[in-house]
Subunit: 201 residues, 2 copies
């Protein structure tokens, strides 16, 4: 769309919105128009929320979570079990595990997975910081909760190697049939993993 149709401000808003994940050029235009129509009840508060987030949100220097304080709310929470660290790829995974409220543990955000093809090596992740946390003592269990992809599994193996010298128990998430899932739609790998790890009824 040329600048002659809409003001440059609107055009710029559309272009920036289009860079959000899940929004393409067309849906960005729709979102921009929606924002303009709800200028006072949506666009102004959203702009405020962003300005505040830009100013206040920091990455926790201990676990890699994003929060408004460093160390983050999770790292300073005394009810959390600090003997167990759940290792995740990304903050979104941390959020997902917290929503499921699966384990009252601490976290460690890697910031990605090892991927030689994409040029991501161990020094690009927070693996050495994890080793430091374990070296400080007190950590009894590391749960590696990375995605079940080839890169995720490679990363899990690398971390296990790095932690070899410590007396820490290392576990990973179980493979199996998703709750509510239908066998018919599952891939062979998942099915055979679920069969191998079958549990007594």
């Amino acid at each position: 769309m040329s600048d002659s149709i809409t003001g440059q401000e609107i055009e710029r808003l559309i272009q920036l919105l289009a860079r959000l994940p899940g929004l393409g050029p067309r849906s960005a235009r729709r979102a921009a128009l929606h924002l303009i129509k709800k200028k006072d009840v949506l666009m102004a508060p959203l702009a405020d929320a962003m300005v505040e987030a830009v100013e206040n949100v920091v990455t926790c220097s201990t676990c890699g979570n994003v929060d408004t304080s460093d160390p983050c709310t999770l790292c300073t929470d005394h009810r959390r079990d600090r003997n167990t660290i759940i290792v995740v790829e990304d903050v979104s995974d941390l959020w997902a595990l917290e929503r499921a409220a699966v384990l009252n543990a601490s976290y460690h955000v890697l910031g990605g997975v090892l991927s030689p093809l994409d040029g991501v090596g161990p020094e690009d992740l927070t693996i050495s910081a994890l080793v430091d946390r374990v070296a400080q003592g007190g950590v009894k269990e590391i749960v590696i909760a990375v995605n079940a992809t080839v890169e995720g599994q490679t990363t899990a193996h690398y971390i296990t190697d790095q932690l070899e010298d410590f007396t820490v128990s290392i576990s990973r998430l179980a493979h199996g049939v998703p709750v509510g899932g239908e066998l018919d739609y599952l891939d062979e790998g998942t099915l055979s993993a679920a069969m191998r790890s079958r549990t007594k009824f």
Copy 2:
């Protein structure tokens, strides 16, 4: 997600993003995380763009377009044909027609279509403003470019009735096969309209 996991600022950002069309709760979280990760290159400029849009974007009092000036760029453009007015439901339709660059004409944004079930009557749309524009003289043709829905067609008929007393030619967009469309996938209504309006080869 409870406030104990993420700061209230992040939670508020997610909730506001979820109100954008095309973003649900899950994709809003993803978008928020993306914004936080690209704080300086994306979130800060987007916040700025929104603040500017909140301050500067206005609705054109002549045609109903949104722009940074009133009357809008289109209404003040002297190269535009002011004898022809294209009537559209929404600003997004105006943008779509401008992208296609179909007709160098003026516009009139209705702000919706007549819909008794949703409680939208003629007084909720800018129909009387359109009649006023025609009454001022100089307008030779009105192209009614509303959606081909029942409500759209009802609105088109209502507008035609209102303009009965003026010597203005009223037309509507042609029905037919979309360019690149396959007959197999078209509904009977479109096919029969395309057949009725068949043109000499």
